[in-house]
Symmetry: C2
Subunit: 113 residues, 2 copies
Amino acid sequence: MFAGCADHTPLPVRVGDKWTAKILVCLRDGPRRFSELRVPLAPITPKVLTGPLRAVERDGLVTRTARPGIPPRVEYALTPRGRSLFAPLAVACAWNAAHGAELRAVRAANGGR
Amino acid sequence: MFAGCADHTPLPVRVGDKWTAKILVCLRDGPRRFSELRVPLAPITPKVLTGPLRAVERDGLVTRTARPGIPPRVEYALTPRGRSLFAPLAVACAWNAAHGAELRAVRAANGGR
DNA sequence: CAGTATCCGAAACGATACTG
DNA sequence: CAGTATCGTTTCGGATACTG
């Protein structure tokens, strides 16, 4: 049905969840450290951030680089594959720009559950 | 961050879940009845199908038309707004065709949790 | 036929606290 | 700083059974 997709989701990677896409966007302009990611994603907790971060790392969308020393310093950076996801993401945002407001109006009118 | 989006998801509508996008695809070639949807979506249960179906109806992506009579006959059909979602969906599928296999290989190598 | 009613389990999200 | 450990809540998906 969705050629090439795992059969249980339309999208191949975990970008439909609450945080993953935002994480990728935060890394768009360069590597960021764990705590640097927490700022734009506030009020995300460390535990919640860790989940999707491990997932994108496992999927080769982001690299994790730990530099030894005190204090510890860990940098997250997009891979080319991670960067390639911005294309579908941009199209989703374009749909939003075109239809989002209207959709939310209809949803509210129908009882925005 | 995602212009025009609800703040809790990158995508505006519920297409990141397991069934919604598949439902839209099933309606692509014309209206379908409840039971007709269950066939390509097997082994979905009626209760599970009802959830996303009510959501897309509430969001104006699909219309629900009940014809009186015995047996009951209910038809679901895409609206123009629902149809417009195929554009972003197609781009997601294209990403899959280009990167999906590689991604699943990496994921499996890293312990496909 | 087109659903609804119950009950269940898994996963995501979240608050709070603690550690190398 | 960069996490992990616990605990609790909510949501999704699913199995089974029942109804207008």
